[in-house]
Each structure stands twice: as structure tokens, then as C-alpha cells.
Symmetry: C2
Subunit: 145 residues, 2 copies
Amino acid sequence: MEDALIKEHPPSWRSTRQRAAVLLVLRDAATFVSATELHAALTADGAAIGLTTVYRTLRVLERTGHVDVMRDKTGERLYRPRPADGHRHYLVCRRCGHSRPVDADSVERWAESLTASTGFTEVEHTLELTGVCEPCQSGGAPSPG
Amino acid sequence: MEDALIKEHPPSWRSTRQRAAVLLVLRDAATFVSATELHAALTADGAAIGLTTVYRTLRVLERTGHVDVMRDKTGERLYRPRPADGHRHYLVCRRCGHSRPVDADSVERWAESLTASTGFTEVEHTLELTGVCEPCQSGGAPSPG
DNA sequence: TTCGTTGCAAAAGGTTTGCATACCA
DNA sequence: TGGTATGCAAACCTTTTGCAACGAA
């Protein structure tokens, strides 16, 4: 992800130790993570980085389309690197937080069809899916994080 | 809406001047409104009510399924009375805030089918749709609120 | 009279901003 | 060297909570 980001997108993306650290941790995230969690993981890894910088970096990544954002029930923002194939919807386990992209083509098409049926233009959509993943159904409930 | 709420739902819903005022304003809402806006409208109408009470009343209405909730881009919660026919998805105009329920049966079915295709159970979904409504396309942009 | 409800002020929690300093290019 | 990026502290906002007073049933 770093390469794509550093070479392509930003108006002026300056490569710093802090940003590299964020990208590194984010790249391996199998679940949506909050800014706070990300910051905790970074400092636990020994990285010296301010929470403000984490927020600012995530905002850039969001603007450049490198991360997808969703909100949990409390309204907290959660981030996850956007897959290269451009998937944009995820099914998130309510027990362990694990997320997996889902094929939402039918929803995309349906959303587009709304333009014709409602008269609304520039229709955009946000879809958040939660459930309980197979591992969490059988075994106990792995704790989030 | 008042009748339905007062007679059916609550474990113990006590009818008060403040709650009646909230229900009255909310009933006529054609758009999603925030707790703050609701409170402002109420006090503008001359009602004496605390912001805390507005929040608490909305929480009860949310729990009892009398209002639908969505979040705007800033994460603020917006409320709207739930139609009697149980529609639960809305298309909201980004310019003026007007919202209309949409038929999302196909999405509902698709979401249910995820259980089979992903192994996730108890799949729940949140869908937020925005666009620009016809009046806002032609004329200028009516201001929100 | 009882117990849910109200409202103020304060706390909480996440996110943003001001500003001086550090540092990449 | 110039202009970004950083980081601390403080500001912001929405939402929740503590607690004493109020009021519906």
C-alpha cells in the first residue's frame, strides 16, 4: 500500500517515520481499527507518534481513497485499508471484529437504479453489515482486538 | 404516533408535557433531525424542555422502534419517525435534507442471503442513501433545516 | 405516596485546532 | 532554506451521567 500511496496520490505527501509506521500497521489489519487502537498498537510497537498525527494521517488516507471508513455503534470511526480490487462493503463480526469484503454488486446496481425510480441524482450509499462469523459461533467468543 | 407509543410500547411510559412536545414536533418532521435541532425547534415553539430530556426521550423512542436513526457525516445522530408500514431505509437529499423511504426489499433479501454465502449468522445491516432531490436539481439549493 | 422524569452542571469520549518546533525535500 | 509534518495542550461537540427536585398515577 505504501508504494501506491507515496507514488501516486497525494498532492504533496511527504514520507515520514510516523506515516510509514501507520501504513505498516494498517496494511496488516485484518479488521477495522479505530484511531485510538492504531495509536495504541503503534506505541506498543515502540513507535513514537502522537495521536493527532494518527488522526491526520488517517484523514489523508481517507481522502485519497486508501482506506475505507465505517462507524461502530458508538459513532467511533473505524478504518481499514481498501483492497486493490476496489471492494467497498464489509461484513464485520460483532464478536471478534473480524471483517471480510462481500460482493455487493447487486446492491450497487440497485442503488444506481434509484436515480431512475426516485428522481434523485448523484445517489451515494453507505452499507454496514454485521453478523457473527463461523469461528465465533462454535467456540466461545474470541474477544475483540 | 403518540397514541401508538403511549398505549402499546413502553415498559412504563409516563406521559409528560415534555414528551408530548417532542412527539408533536417529531411527528411532523419530513426530514431527519438531530437532537439539537429538535431541542431548538421546541424552545423556539415556547416549550420549556431540557436538552437532556430530548436525548432521553429519543433514546426511548429508538429502543421501542418508533424512530429510525442515521448518522450524518460528522457522526451526529439524526432521528425520524418510522413509518407505520415499517420501511427502514431512506434516501436523503444532501442539499435540503428531505428524506423519502425507499423500497429496499432486494437489499433485504440480499443481506439475508449472506448468511448462506459467508457463514456469518445473525446478519444485520445499515444502509444510508444520499442524493440530490429533484427540486434541488432545478432551482437553487434550498438550505437545510 | 411512590417512583419514574426532569434539568442543571459536569463528565465523558472522540476528533479537531492553535502554535511553536522538527524535519523532509 | 522553505514549506510540511509533528505534537502537545486546549478547544469542540455531541451524548451521557450524578443528583436533587418535581410531578404523574
